[in-house]
C-alpha cells in the first residue's frame, strides 16, 4: 500500500500532466507545476475522491503546495 505522500504525488502528476519526478514536497502547484486556478480546483476534487473526504473551500484555498496537501490529508482523514 502506498503512503499518503506517494498517493498525493501521483494524483498531482496526473492532474497537472507533469512527470512524477518533478513533483517535490515543496512544489507549488501554480508557481512550480504550472497549474492554473481551475487546475487547483480540480486537484482538490481529485484529492477528495482519492481520500473520500470533503475539503471545504476555505481550507482548499490554503493548499498551495504538495506538502500542504499531505499535511491536510494526514490531519483530516483516516487514510494514514
Amino acid at each position: 500500500m502506498e503512503n499518503i505522500e506517494q498517493r498525493i504525488k501521483k494524483i498531482v502528476a496526473e492532474q497537472l500532466g507533469v512527470n512524477e519526478a518533478e513533483v517535490k514536497n515543496e512544489s507549488s502547484f501554480v508557481n512550480d507545476l504550472g497549474a492554473d486556478s481551475l487546475d487547483t480546483v480540480e486537484l482538490v476534487m481529485a484529492l477528495e475522491e482519492e481520500f473520500e473526504c470533503e475539503i471545504p473551500d476555505e481550507q482548499a484555498e490554503k493548499i498551495n503546495t504538495v506538502q500542504e496537501a499531505i499535511d491536510y490529508v494526514t490531519a483530516n482523514t483516516s487514510a494514514s
Binding site: D36, L38, V41, E42, M45
Partner: protein
C-alpha cells in the same frame, strides 16, 4: 445528443416545454423542472407521449437545498447532468418609478441568481467529464430594453455577462456557455399582453409575426449539439429581426 443527460428548468409549458421535446426527440435524456406537482405531471405526460426518456421533477430554483436534492435524484436515476438549459423565468412588470424592492428582488433572484446557482451546481461534474453545455435563455428585452421591464431586462442582460465570463473560465474543459435570446414568442407570457399591444409589437418585427416556441427550441438544440462545439460565449438571437445585434 444521444443519451446526453439534460436538465431544463421551467419545462412545464411554453418555451421550456418546446426545448424539452426538441432535445428529447434528438435523443437526449430529459429532466424537466416545474415549481408545482401539477407542472411535474404535465412534463411526465408529454415526455411519455413523445417517447422521451427522462422525468419531471419539482424544483424551486431559488432554493439551494432543493437544487442539491434534485441533482442527487438525477445522479441516482440517470447520472451527472451534461447539458443544462436555464430557462425558468418570471416577470413582475412595473414602471421603474413605481417598482417595489420585492419586484426587483424577485426577478433578479428567480431569473438570474438561479442561473448562477444551477450552473455552479453542475460545473464540477462537467469539468471532470471534460464535457458540458450550458445554455441560458435570455430575452430580446435584455438586449434592447423594454418599458416596464427594467428588472427583467437587467436580469436577462446579466445572463450575457455571466455567460461570457463562465465561457472564459471553463472553455479549457470543453464546456461551452451560450445564450439564446428569444424575441416575442407565442406563449402564455406574451398572450397575457393586450391585443393592441401585441399588434404594435408585431409592427416592429421584420418577419411580421410572433415566434413559435419550437423556433427557439431549434436554436437551443443547435447549441447543445456537437455541431456547435466551437461556439461559446455568444448569444443566438431568435426574434424575427426585431433586434439585430
Amino acid at each position: 445528443m444521444e443519451n446526453k443527460i439534460t436538465l431544463i428548468t421551467g419545462a412545464s409549458r411554453g418555451i421550456g416545454q418546446a426545448i424539452a421535446i426538441k432535445l428529447g426527440q434528438s435523443g437526449a435524456v430529459v429532466i424537466g423542472t416545474a415549481t408545482t406537482e401539477n407542472g411535474v405531471s404535465t412534463i411526465n405526460q408529454y415526455l411519455e407521449k413523445s417517447g422521451i426518456k427522462g422525468m419531471g421533477i419539482a424544483l424551486n430554483v431559488n432554493d439551494a437545498e432543493q437544487i442539491n436534492h434534485a441533482l442527487q435524484t438525477i445522479r441516482e436515476k440517470f447520472g451527472e447532468v451534461e447539458i443544462l438549459v436555464n430557462n425558468a423565468g418570471i416577470t413582475r412588470d412595473n414602471l421603474l418609478v413605481r417598482m417595489k424592492d420585492e419586484e426587483w428582488d424577485d426577478i433578479l433572484e428567480t431569473d438570474l441568481k438561479s442561473v448562477f446557482r444551477l450552473s455552479r451546481a453542475v460545473l464540477r461534474a462537467m469539468m471532470k467529464a471534460r464535457y458540458g453545455r450550458i445554455i441560458n435563455i435570455s430575452s430580446v428585452v435584455g438586449a434592447m430594453g423594454n418599458l416596464g421591464q427594467a428588472n427583467y431586462a437587467a436580469a436577462k442582460a446579466g445572463m450575457f455577462g455571466f455567460s461570457k465570463s463562465l465561457a472564459r473560465e471553463v472553455g479549457s474543459r470543453n464546456i461551452t456557455v451560450n445564450c439564446v435570446a428569444p424575441g416575442f414568442i407565442d406563449t402564455d407570457m406574451t398572450r397575457a399582453l393586450a391585443d393592441e399591444f401585441q399588434q404594435s409589437l408585431i409592427q416592429h418585427v421584420p418577419l411580421g409575426r410572433l415566434g413559435r416556441p419550437e423556433e427557439v427550441a431549434s436554436a437551443v438544440a443547435f447549441l447543445a449539439s456537437s455541431a456547435a462545439g466551437y461556439i461559446t460565449g455568444t448569444t443566438l438571437h431568435v426574434n424575427g429581426g426585431m433586434y439585430m445585434d
